[in-house]
């Protein structure tokens, strides 16, 4: 053992990430959020293997309809059904299994959450960085534009734009060439519009951080050493922002999922991609009888968003212990 210890290089002090992770592990709520998020990802990726019925365009999805099982309440609640596991979340008026629908909807939720966040964060980092670093009239101009996006009622504009652009959709699904994954076109349009209308507040936050860090001494030192602007931005300011960017991203995922659910619920979503909001919309008019088709997809949304929010809060506490006493 002793020789073993000798061979090892001298232990470096724990990195910022290791410290944050150790702090995060102690936060029960944050870990709980992480577990939920991992479960959601697991369901999204492997859901089609254990869902009782296939996803919607496949006619087998309507099997309960052909078996006469329309509007069946969840089987564990219904004394008339003998198989207590058959329809865990009940069936819809059009004869699909709500449990399968919810499982298949998970991948769309992940798709929406991640893509909206990636685009939003890319936009807001670029804009926030330019505005915060270069200052003066560039800052003024960009922040006025951000203000335009902050002031106007985003949800209303999103609805109109989604309506206009989904009207022109031709093919319901795009197939990615190499990995052979089908992407719903309408949902992608919704995602792009959501991202386009949500960058402003994040950009403002990042700009503020840039303004703060730009004035710190180590940047001044770097400048005295003759570093270029690009080097300062990418090598010195952005790494310092990484932790807050991760936290903001997590919360943006949660927000994007909620927004997409709202857009779909109002009937503006993509009818080819059965997201959770879409399930709620489909059964809204039948709510009085098939309440289970409204409750369970809603719980799925609630849990997922709750998980991302908990994770975001936990990460924020882990990176930023000052707030944590």
């Amino acid at each position: 053992m002793a020789s073993n210890r000798k061979e090892k290089p001298k232990r470096r002090s724990a990195s910022q990430w290791a410290v944050a992770w150790r702090r995060f592990k102690r936060n029960k709520a944050g870990v709980f959020g992480l577990v939920i998020v991992m479960a959601v990802f697991f369901t999204g990726i492997f859901g089609s293997f254990f869902a009782p019925y296939p996803a919607r365009p496949n006619p087998d999805a309507y099997k309960p309809f052909y078996e006469g099982d329309v509007r069946k309440p969840p089987s564990w609640l219904d004394p008339e059904q003998t198989n207590k596991w058959k329809y865990l979340f009940g069936t819809t008026p059009i004869g699909t299994d709500v449990f399968s629908d919810v499982i298949h909807g998970t991948k769309y939720t992940i798709y929406v959450g991640l893509l909206v966040t990636v685009i939003t964060m890319a936009l807001s980092i670029v804009i926030g960085a330019i505005a915060g670093f270069y200052g003066r009239w560039v800052d003024n101009l960009l922040m006025r534009i951000a203000e335009v996006f902050l002031v106007f009622p985003a949800l209303l504009f999103i609805l109109v734009f989604v309506r206009i652009f989904t009207l022109t959709v031709g093919e319901p699904f795009l197939t990615l060439p190499i990995i052979n994954i089908q992407i719903p076109t309408g949902l992608t349009i919704v995602v792009l519009i959501l991202a386009f209308f949500n960058w402003a507040s994040n950009a403002r936050m990042i700009r503020g951080e840039f303004l703060r860090i730009r004035e710190l001494e180590f940047i001044e030192a770097e400048r005295a050493l003759g570093a270029s602007n690009t080097r300062i931005i990418f090598r010195h300011i952005l790494p310092n922002l990484l932790s807050s960017i991760i936290v903001i991203s997590t919360l943006t995922i949660a927000y994007a999922i909620l927004l997409e659910a709202a857009v779909s619920f109002l009937g503006f979503g993509d009818v080819n991609a059965i997201t959770w909001g879409q399930i709620l919309q489909e059964n809204f008019s039948e709510m009085r009888t098939v309440w289970w088709a409204e409750i369970f997809p809603g719980i799925a949304i609630l849990l997922t968003v709750f998980g991302f929010n908990l994770l975001g809060d936990g990460l924020s506490d882990a990176f930023n212990p000052r707030l944590r006493d």
Binding site: R144, V148, L156, A262, L302
Partner: protein, 338 residues
Amino acid sequence: MNFGRFITRRLSLLLGSAMFRYIVRRLLYMIPVFLGISIISFFVMYAAGDPLNIIRLGRPTVTQETIDSLRRYYGLDKPIPLQYLNWLTNVLQFNFGKSLYGGRPVNFLIGSWAWETIKLQLISILLAFAISIPIGINSAKKQYSKQDMIITSISLFGVSMPTFWLGLILIIIFSFWLGWLPSAGSRGAPYLWWGNPILDQIAHLIMPVTVLVYVMLAQNIRLIRANMLEILRSDYILAARASGLSERKVIYKYALRNAIGPVITYLGISLGMMIAGAPMTEYVFNWPGLGRRYVDAAMRLDFPLVMGITMIITVMTLIANLIIDICYVYIDPRIRLR
């Protein structure tokens, strides 16, 4: 006259005061924002393509001549910037055109729908802010106590919950299962709920208000709590405590005043967005307000109505922002009026 001189002196003092200049500058800042939004909402219409194509749809007998004459009549043959200016001058005179469905003026429609929305929103906003401030302060005062844990998790739930879904659950439980409350509308059709017009109104308001209040409450409590926590740790609170002030005074006079800023911002935004209503909540409860009508208008691509509502919301939000900024100056003297 002495009096005249007094007036002119007062006026020049006012005009020269920092506050006045601040307000004027804020007003000037609003102009580009307003123009930006007006441009976006104008081009929404162009994103949808030629409006006259709608007339052609399903009417094969419409000739090119009719289309051309309509184009000239509505001024659609002019260059787009000119059309925009034309529209803008109309908007500045509060003339938003006519709805594409039914042909009634947009002004009239908005005026007749706004009341229901304002009623719903005003009650919820006032309730939410009245409740959330004491709760948030208490929660911050006793951080990590059982009470604090319960309140933070409830409010985190509220932030994570889709607004409309809470509405759906309430309808299922209280209207369908228990039959206690009306599930839709704002007024007593087909019969008066609880037998009296006022009680009927209250019965219709309970569930939508609950949903709106819960969502706002959740957001607000989180805001206040986070702020208070940070401020309670600052040096001047320590100093205030050290000088022997009562806890009550420390919290409500020193800490609250510093913590209230973001809450006021949020209140202002809520009030400004009030007219937009909560489209989700209004949709779920079939509340006949502006938000619900906006969803319908967007669905049917009724552009004059959509643009009219958007512009009114924009102006209200801008005014609310201005008022927030002015309030900030009074609350927080550290903000300098440059």
